[in-house]
Symmetry: none
Subunit: 286 residues, 2 copies
Amino acid sequence: MSALLSLLREQIEHFSPQEKRLAEHILENPEHVQRLGITELAAECGTSPATVTRFCKSLRFKGFPDFKMRLIGELSRPAEAGTYQDIVAGRPLKEIVRAIESNHLSSITDTTRLLDPEALERAVTALSSARRIDLYGMGTSSIVAQDFYQKLIRLGKSCTAFADSHMQITSASTLNEGDVALAISYSGETPETIAALQCAKDAGAMTLSLTRYGTSPLPALADIPLFTSSLEEGVRRGAMASRIAQLHVIDILFTGIVSEGFEEYVPMLEQSYHNVRQYLKPSGGA
Amino acid sequence: MSALLSLLREQIEHFSPQEKRLAEHILENPEHVQRLGITELAAECGTSPATVTRFCKSLRFKGFPDFKMRLIGELSRPAEAGTYQDIVAGRPLKEIVRAIESNHLSSITDTTRLLDPEALERAVTALSSARRIDLYGMGTSSIVAQDFYQKLIRLGKSCTAFADSHMQITSASTLNEGDVALAISYSGETPETIAALQCAKDAGAMTLSLTRYGTSPLPALADIPLFTSSLEEGVRRGAMASRIAQLHVIDILFTGIVSEGFEEYVPMLEQSYHNVRQYLKPSGGA
DNA sequence: AAATTATAAAGAAAAATATTTTCATTCATA
DNA sequence: TATGAATGAAAATATTTTTCTTTATAATTT
């Protein structure tokens, strides 16, 4: 609770009736009050603007705008990354925003803490030197695979990220030593993804997994298992925190690869960015 | 550096001479500016109050007080958790991890600060009551559209997220009043995405955009523009921070929708989760 | 190249809005 | 009944926005 709000709460008994109503209203929903003018605030509290100015002055502010300025300042401190919060019915949107921010922040910090630097190092090296890279994932994890695919393609890497599990297996069967397969699954238990990684392993590829932290079939199978923090519950409801954690790890891998081959890769990235604009610019026809 | 100030620095070259002087003055001493009235600020910059309001409006604020409010909010945040860091050649992986963590955390907190609660509220309401939802995005933004698509489908929403721009237009042409179109583009300048949203608007649909903060064609077109924090540089190199910011907003929208129809939606989410396991379990054949 | 026509930028002043002050009234208390 | 704190209505003031006009710049035509 901010200094200003605590002050109001503390002093509330010393206020006159109308001032008390003001204080209560402000304490009840400060985020709302911060976007009100003096007339609106007065109306919402069933009092007059004059009373509001006097109220602000009695709190030793120069006037209402001065008070509002302080309120805005105190309310705009970021939510701290804490425990994961579940979303329940009919909450005001501002609470939802706060909860989701907190979840996503936690997701990133927790995942970072979990990362095994050595495994990460090996993963980057493997991916960097891979002749070919296969990415496997079903459902939402397929989205993450697609994202990594788009990145790797820009580096000129030979890479596939089929959403179709038959195609994944088909692709996996053609891998060889020197190739890398990365399987993504939050639970680590997705049968199709396990099958694809098993197939890749049998074909001789180096296998990587990205799952939630804990024991599950996928990391057991992988040569290099990587983990995100786990969040339970929310996943079933399609929460994004798991996706963000996965993308966070993917970005670290990608940046690691780019950093290793900086001279070669950065021009390629810039080039692909410019070419998309360049070649699609002149005429809109197709 | 706060989102607002970075925006000013970024866009300063696109401003008119007087606006440039304003931006420079604000960047030079924001703490001082936050306690000025519009007349004083204008005087200090040797310009007129009219120019100042126009300047604020062009930055998508409701007016000068709205701008000042945001400035105050951003300045009163405790020392930045992290400025965006660019990745350079051959750094130890440990440093890369730290830099990326910092980038992603900033991306989320900055984006949260930027969210306009009112726009968010309207967006959630529009999406909740939409008869049909179209999602547009090219390249990496297409990934974000896909993610939202996967979520909305689980709620039984009628929704499309074509990656092909011809299909996007085709779909957009068939929209009607009561339908919603959401266009995603980091730059806000992707021609195909603009075309699709324009088409949707002409067809009578309510239009939403999700772009980086600032002025660009897409939010100008949209009925409800939503923004993520902007990070410039990294984007060209395919950095993930912009994606994470977009997904963060998407998750807020989605959770807002679910929260509005909690009783109806949560069972659907649980059901779809279980059905995927159930129906794919017994025999592996296909 | 010169002249003309758009277009954009910017300020002055008017209009609209927001805030503060003044003043009159009410209500509780002595 | 007098006193004074609390309050609101309305006037005064301050602030912001809009409108209108001028000026400068770019684009187009002759």
